[in-house]
């Protein structure tokens, strides 16, 4: 029963994809006659001059994607690096910033969750800092850190800390009283209670925070790299826009989506290990 539902969903997905690609092909495929136009201007306008669109067809994209995938790691100078290298730069920044944020947010969240005093004291800071767009920190980061790569890591850090911090604090604060009472009546020490009772009890909530954070970090890195330039998939997108290579821009969009999905799925698999049902 379940299997046939899966099959139906898959069929529908394929049909939708085919419709989308077909529509795209029809919309941008060159047709009709070229209008009267100055030859030089026509050359400048490329496909538009021939009555088509500058947008590539799905086949162009597929060809270009294949070119990227078959040689992802070439390096021909600062403006021409393989997509693999660019994605690796972005991933490295995201992961470094993200793990530093986790290393700060999870212990701090524990503290806030366990102590109402700390919760009250830190709450105003969190409330003010949380809604700030991470990119607003960029000039300050560039001025103080004086390194664009480290600045983008900092931006990732600052944007991924909040969901992890708040979810950890919430998860820790809402551990069932009963479980804490069990630990108390068994004279379990504070540290053992934290690791054997509170951490596993709050783990699913913490993991939710970590999934939200990685998604935000991956969204923000593209924008951050567009700003600071140099390397990374965000820079790649902007560079290809300057090259007016819409094909490559679309390829990059697809790669960003794929990597984001892989990151989320990886954390999802990990969170399945720590969830429990009551």
């Amino acid at each position: 029963m379940n299997g046939s539902k899966d099959l139906q969903a898959l069929t529908l997905s394929v049909v939708l994809l085919a419709l989308f690609l077909g529509g795209w092909q029809l919309a941008v495929g060159g047709s009709g006659t070229a209008p009267q136009m100055d030859p030089e201007y026509a050359a400048l306008m490329g496909a538009t001059a021939k009555g088509g669109s500058a947008l590539p067809t799905p086949f162009d994209i597929a060809k270009e994607m294949w070119r990227h995938i078959s040689d992802p790691f070439y390096d021909k100078g600062p403006n021409d690096k393989g997509i693999g290298i660019q994605l690796a730069y972005s991933l490295a920044r995201v992961l470094i910033g993200y793990f530093i944020a986790a290393a700060v947010a999870i212990p701090l969240g524990f503290l806030i969750g366990m102590s109402p005093l700390f919760y009250k004291a830190l709450d105003p800071f969190i409330q003010i800092l949380k809604p700030i767009s991470p990119l607003a920190w960029m000039p300050l980061a560039l001025y103080t850190i004086k390194d664009s790569g480290v600045s983008s890591v900092f931006v990732i850090f600052i944007c991924s800390i909040w969901p992890m911090l708040l979810n950890t604090a919430f998860g820790v604060a809402s551990v069932r009283r009963d479980w804490l009472n069990v630990a108390k009546t068994l004279e379990v020490g504070r540290l053992r209670t934290a690791f054997r009772v509170i951490l596993p009890a709050a783990a699913p909530t913490i993991m939710t925070g970590m999934r939200i954070s990685i998604a935000i970090a991956w969204l923000v890195i593209v924008a951050a790299e567009m700003l600071v330039g140099g390397t990374g998939v965000g820079y790649f997108v902007w560079n290809e826009w300057n090259n007016l290579s819409i094909t490559n821009v679309i390829c990059a969009i697809l790669f960003i989506g794929l990597v984001g999905m892989v990151l989320d799925q990886a954390l999802y698999q990990f969170s399945k290990l720590v969830t429990y049902s009551e």
Partner: protein
């Protein structure tokens, strides 16, 4: 203090701060009672008389506003492995299996034990509560009755001097409740376990308890009297109602819960709170006027 008493409560009171500006609410006050070694004591009262609070204070999770809990001659101020609690809501860690839940307690009691010894010890208690085969199941895959069995095994496994039960069977269906009561009765008789139980089920109290403490309604609840269970030892769930003393006892308890628990709250009891009247409801006395021994040692 009577040296036979393993646990005693002296002048216990607990008040909670009232809503803004209002007087603090005293839930119960001036409680004096004790349980001797190997004794099974039940406390019956309506909701709101602070039954669970009393148990939490005995467990050391909550602190009294006044008075003290004396365990084996020493004042107990916090939780201790001497006193194991079976919680109403079983309170098992859902991410741990049956044996892990019990081992968590055993390791707390004997941190120096090697893994194999802890496992063996846990297995003994798993077998005792008839959970053999469910060692590696998580609570989510156990029925309500089985979960409470794990809770009981966890409490027994640390070999506490006193076991505290907080309405442990109230969330179970009647059949499961009955078989668990039989098992608790059996285990307590075999191990001579000192037990203190909160309940609002009269038949449960009559089956399990040696003495039953009756509380007036809250706030300012007190112990109104102590009923000695006059049914013979070795009673079972299936035959205890045939005993001549069963109905006098049962009627006395119902009468108390239905009428007197409220009426006595208003009255100034002319008794020493340290020595509440002790009654022995029996068939040879009329049920309305049970034998009352004033001033008998509680």
């Amino acid at each position: 203090m009577d040296p036979n008493n393993l646990i005693a409560v002296e002048g216990l009171a607990r008040s909670f701060p009232g809503p803004k500006g209002a007087e603090p609410v005293t839930v119960f006050e001036d409680l004096w009672f004790a349980a001797a070694r190997g004794e099974f004591v039940c406390l019956i009262g309506h909701s709101g008389c602070g039954k669970s609070t009393i148990l939490n204070i005995l467990a050391g999770i909550d602190q009294p506003s006044e008075g003290a809990v004396i365990v084996d001659g020493k004042e107990a101020t916090g939780p201790s492995l001497d006193r194991a609690v079976v919680f109403q809501s079983h309170a098992l860690m859902p991410w741990m299996t049956t044996i892990q839940n019990i081992a968590f307690a055993v390791r707390s009691r004997w941190p120096e034990w090697p893994r194999a010894k802890i496992r063996e010890h846990c297995q003994t208690y798993i077998d005792m509560v008839h959970l053999t085969g469910a060692e590696d199941k998580k609570p989510a895959h156990l029925s309500g009755g089985m979960r409470q069995r794990v809770g009981i095994a966890r409490a027994l496994a640390i070999e506490p001097r006193i076991m505290l039960l907080d309405e442990p069977f109230s969330a179970l269906d009647a059949l499961t409740r009955g078989s668990l009561q039989d098992e608790v009765l059996d285990i307590c008789a075999k191990t001579n376990q000192t037990t203190f139980m909160i309940t609002h089920d009269i038949d449960e109290a009559l089956l399990l308890a040696d003495r039953i403490l009756l509380m007036t309604n809250g706030p300012r609840a007190r112990i109104a009297e102590i009923v000695v269970n006059t049914l013979p030892k070795g009673r079972t769930r299936t035959d205890m109602h045939r005993h001549d003393n069963y109905y006098p006892l049962r009627n006395h308890l119902i009468e108390f819960l239905v009428r007197r628990s409220e009426a006595l709250r208003e009255m100034v009891l002319d008794v020493d709170p340290r020595k509440p009247p002790v009654v022995f409801p029996r068939a040879d006395c009329s049920a309305q006027t049970p034998a009352v021994v004033h001033g008998a040692t509680a």
